[in-house]
């Protein structure tokens, strides 16, 4: 058999492959850089001084650890599983993205790089990168699709306030994938001086594992917090997936524990059957883009097609290769929820718990609303509340204007 349940085999392998996904599909110009990055990361990641510096900044600058919050009223409403929320929305800059940026910028500093580049879609990764770059006094350039700049104006202003240069990308469709293409072109051009901070668990090896490692503080804290509170690990973990970094960070410490269900929630947009969605696993096919082999939204001819989601942060036509592997091996369960369901869940959490969730995270809440009632109270479910929803006020307002009669009745 080609596939076995992931156990303790080293993943990824030396070429960065998770099964047949992942790898390092980049132009030769970038190959030596990815090899160098891999070597430097391997040398530094377990060093006591690096870990101590990272831990101190995670605590004092980011605000870790993030609370594990018992969602009492949501649990009561759903009459099923006991629901906890992992409060990444309370971290500095308002989302989990900063965990990865902090790790990568410390690594960049260690490598002697002074110039930071990043791509961003919704702007949260861009803001987190600009924030940490400001903290370390590094030059920061953020590539952002021109369509996203129009949709996410407040985050553009935040990045500028933090001293980052925003480069609009109008090639292609002017969204996240085009911003990533342009960041890779910059990296190809400025190989010696520049460190590319990829925002999700995708890209050429070692990025998928490196970003996962920096995000896995989420899952590690959940383990400790659940043991402290419940005396046992959780029964299920839920997280939304665009590229999949918050999900991978939550799942990673539990991948080798088959009793813990790992549930990733993709964006079904206007519905999988409409073709207007961002669900790479459920509506895509394997292919090669942005340095890795993974599931992609693409045409029959292998041209990449646009993703669609009300949530700009899930609007990416690919998914991290480790998720593709967890999907094919069956270790992970992957589902999708629509824009409608996500907006309903957004309102539900606002009203029941006094928490305004990001539209991204609302996808995970939406699936929990379907799943929790089918499970007993003894089932402990942890949902990653990956970000806060302040940035989404305009998107939700527009959506409610378009569909006034059937929303917000929770």
């Amino acid at each position: 058999m080609g596939f076995s349940t992931p156990r303790h085999d080293p993943v990824p392998d030396a070429n960065g492959c998770f099964g047949h996904f992942g790898g390092r599909f980049v132009a030769e110009t970038l190959m030596p850089l990815t090899l160098d990055l891999q070597a430097q990361y391997a040398a530094v990641k377990d060093s006591a001084s690096f870990r101590a510096e990272l831990a101190a900044l995670q605590r004092d600058f980011v605000g870790r650890q993030s609370p594990l919050y018992f969602a009492e009223r949501l649990t009561e409403r759903l009459q099923g599983a006991t629901i906890y929320l992992k409060r990444e929305d309370l971290m500095h800059t308002g989302a989990h993205k900063i965990n990865n940026c902090l790790g990568q910028l410390l690594l960049a500093r260690h490598m002697g790089k002074r110039r930071i580049i990043a791509e961003t879609g919704a702007g949260m990764h861009g803001v987190a990168t600009a924030t940490v770059a400001a903290r370390f006094g590094m030059d920061c350039t953020v590539y952002m699709g021109s369509a996203d700049i129009d949709r996410q104006r407040p985050n553009v202003e935040r990045m500028q306030l933090l001293g980052a240069e925003i480069v609009p990308v109008s090639h292609g469709t002017g969204t996240l994938k085009d911003a990533m293409n342009e960041a890779m072109r910059d990296w190809t051009t400025n190989v010696a001086s520049t460190f590319y901070v990829i925002g999700t668990v995708a890209g050429p090896h070692p990025y998928p594992s490196l970003v996962r490692d920096f995000q896995s503080v989420i899952g590690q804290e959940v383990r400790e917090q659940m043991l402290e509170r419940e005396g046992r690990p959780p029964d299920s973990l839920l997280a939304c997936i665009g590229g999949g970094s918050n999900a991978m960070g939550l799942f990673h410490p539990f991948v080798h524990e088959p009793d813990v269900r790992l549930i990733g929630v993709e964006a079904a947009g206007q519905g999988l059957e409409t073709g207007r969605h961002a669900a790479s696993l459920q509506g895509g096919a394997p292919g090669v883009l942005h340095g890795n082999r993974t599931y992609l939204l693409q045409s029959e001819e292998g041209q990449i097609v646009d993703a669609h989601s009300i949530s700009a942060g899930l609007d990416y036509p690919g998914i991290g290769p480790e998720h593709a592997w967890l999907h094919e091996t069956g270790r992970g369960e992957y589902v999708a929820v629509t824009d409608d369901e996500a907006v309903d869940a957004f309102h539900t959490l606002c009203r029941l718990e006094g928490i305004i969730p990001a539209l991204e995270s609302s996808h995970a809440i939406a699936h929990a609303i379907k799943l929790a009632p089918t499970l007993p109270r003894s089932h402990r479910m942890v949902i990653n509340l990956s970000g806060r929803g302040d940035k989404d006020m305009a998107s939700v307002a527009d959506y409610m204007t378009a569909k006034p009669n059937d929303r917000g009745t929770q």
Binding site: L30, G172, E300
Partner: protein
Amino acid sequence: MMAPTRNRIARRFTELQAADRAGLVTFISAGDPDYDTSLDTLLGLPAAGADIIELGMPFSDPMADGPSIQQASQRALQGGQDMHKTLAMVRAFREHDNETPLVLMGYYNPIHRLGVAPFLALASAAGVDGLIVVDLPPEHDEEIRRPAREHDLHVIRLATPTTDECRLPRVLQDATGFLYYVSGTGVTGATQASPERIEAQLSRIRQKTELPIGVGFGIRTPDQARCIAEFADAVVVGSALTDCFQQAERPADGKRAVLERVRSLAAAIAEAR
């Protein structure tokens, strides 16, 4: 399996060596700006002085290319170009020209989607001699290089200024056809490194391989081509040709401009040594 017309690439480099001149490798994107104009242009290239033809397989996300080739790719896709039409262009070309080597150049995903085995069978039957897959480095190219060998198709390797001493052997191991030396870091169409620097890099590489070396990236003018042709086995020109379609008011003007530019580049290369 080995038809007499095979190995057009090796044969062409042998001829060039005998004539003591560098070859001119021209890149155009298949289907840019439309199928008919692109095919007309392709058919005119050998007479204009192209020794080897690189034909781009358009892709929606050409990450290693600068604006000129990105736009060429987009124009072609908007005109309805796909892999089957690109291979049809090669077949049409081979009806007129069975001598000029033709290399398909592009990104892996459209090949991956079609399937490596069907793609290679179709490409070989169409009369393709080699492949350059930009995002398929030596670490991953075996999945196409091995079956390509059975079709006598060369998978061309790339070396760059960042390919250092410890990496070069990996690039050269199993390399066939010719080596494509990308003379600058950056995306296609970016500015060129100094000829002295490129020449030094080439002598470094020549100590390790007998393969002919083509030099590309940033070569736009006859003067630049002449400088490189003094020491390289071939000179690759791409963005300067795709620009012609970008600037042309009508497709036919673009075709004329491409062929005119190819003639002037070929003339400059012919007098380089």
